[in-house]
Symmetry: C2
Subunit: 247 residues, 2 copies
């Protein structure tokens, strides 16, 4: 099955330039899909939309793909003139709020599921591909008026920038695992904790097959209510059930 959804934990990894750590995976994803890409900079502040888009365009120029900012594209051309939509990182609440204001969520979802555009997300853009933003790490700096529901292309939750607990820490704020356990006190959806440098690849049929591929050396952990968290399979296709089992 063709992979058309590509979700990175983060665009920056220690010791690497912007998107560089995952460059070969990005290149191989776009080999089939091609360009141009429409880039969504809404997780950044409005003043930064242009400079953020330029930064993304500079990266993609090195693999021969053109990029344009969604804020500079006529609405009716978004899903006809571009082969892929890339939603970048920043603040997930601000991103969701802007997508709600522009009534873009349904259109993006339909276009990806229909195969009209491929989807790439990074950090906040990865949260946006999931069921809801309820497992973001971001500060709630803006109130999304229409709820926390996101694109639901990946019908579970992802926690990007996942960090394993540090047993030595003296800080008493909740660990990431405690935060995810709190999520599971209120919700039953499995959560994939995606470490920086890792990514998920899947087809638009994820909701029916639940088949995914996790790439990148750091890997990922699966959390489900009432289950001990476990390492997800890496570099191989597998099915993750709605109960959080690997089959």
């Amino acid at each position: 099955m063709k992979k058309s959804i590509f979700l990175l934990s983060s665009s920056s990894v220690h010791g690497y330039g912007f998107l560089e750590y995952n460059k070969s995976a990005i290149q191989s994803f776009f080999e089939d899909i091609g360009g141009p890409i429409v880039f969504v900079p809404f997780a950044a502040a409005r003043e930064e939309w242009d400079s953020y888009t330029e930064k993304v365009a500079r990266f993609f120029a090195t693999i021969g793909i053109a990029v344009r900012g969604l804020h500079t594209v006529d609405r009716e051309r978004i899903f006809t003139d571009y082969k892929a939509i890339f939603i970048g990182g920043g603040n997930t609440f601000r991103l969701l709020h802007e997508l709600q204001l522009r009534s873009l969520l349904q259109d993006i979802r339909a276009a990806v599921l229909d195969g009209r555009v491929a989807y790439m997300g990074s950090s906040a853009g990865t949260n946006m591909a999931t069921k809801s933003i309820c497992t973001t790490n971001d500060m709630p700096i803006v109130y999304p008026q229409q709820g926390f529901e996101a694109l639901n292309l990946f019908t579970y939750q992802i926690n990007p920038h996942y960090l394993d607990p540090e047993p030595e820490t003296k800080h008493k704020g909740e660990t990431r695992d405690q935060r995810i356990a709190e999520f599971h006190q209120e919700n039953s959806t499995p959560v994939v904790g995606l470490r920086e440098g890792s990514y998920i690849l899947m087809g638009p049929d994820f909701g029916t097959t639940h088949k995914l591929f996790i790439g990148g050396q750091p890997g990922a952990k699966v959390f489900a209510p009432g289950k001990k968290p476990f390492e997800a399979p890496r570099e191989t296709e597998f099915v993750l059930t709605p109960e959080g089992d690997v089959v």
Copy 2:
């Protein structure tokens, strides 16, 4: 001026039992106010409300003050039979959601401003005393249907469990300072970053005088848009202006 609002960064500090690190400050706050205390456990999961209340009651028993869980008190008695309301830590979104469902925010705010009850908060309960929950560190596990506005007793923002940036970290998730800077891209309210072990004391007239007292050895940092963050005065009363200046 009598202090009737007491906001702790956290109830746990490395090396100390529950609330023990700030025990003498708690004792001196309640010397004038007395008991009993009505405790709000809503930041915890519903199954934990009773055990959480018992834990708080065990601590306050050591200073001779009785505690009862708000979920076991008749609504009309909350503001007549109790000298203070204590909102404990946990998940801020879950706490706000429950207070909204019970339509308690206006009543608590009015009772504290009128001097009918004193207010103590810790962590999520400290976020709840401020203008909004927009500077919480918590995961948005529940959607508060009525917005992010909180009690607005402290008319600015607090970031509890405040952590100074770690220059050595390899993790690329946002630092606390970057998160607060993002908040200031969208909002102009000053933010007090309250380190674990520190607390804020103030009177119910804070909104008019903006006079506060920060206690506890670790101290606090003040953030305002367009200003370099600076250490807040410690162990002395001072006025913090709505522009984030100390005068």
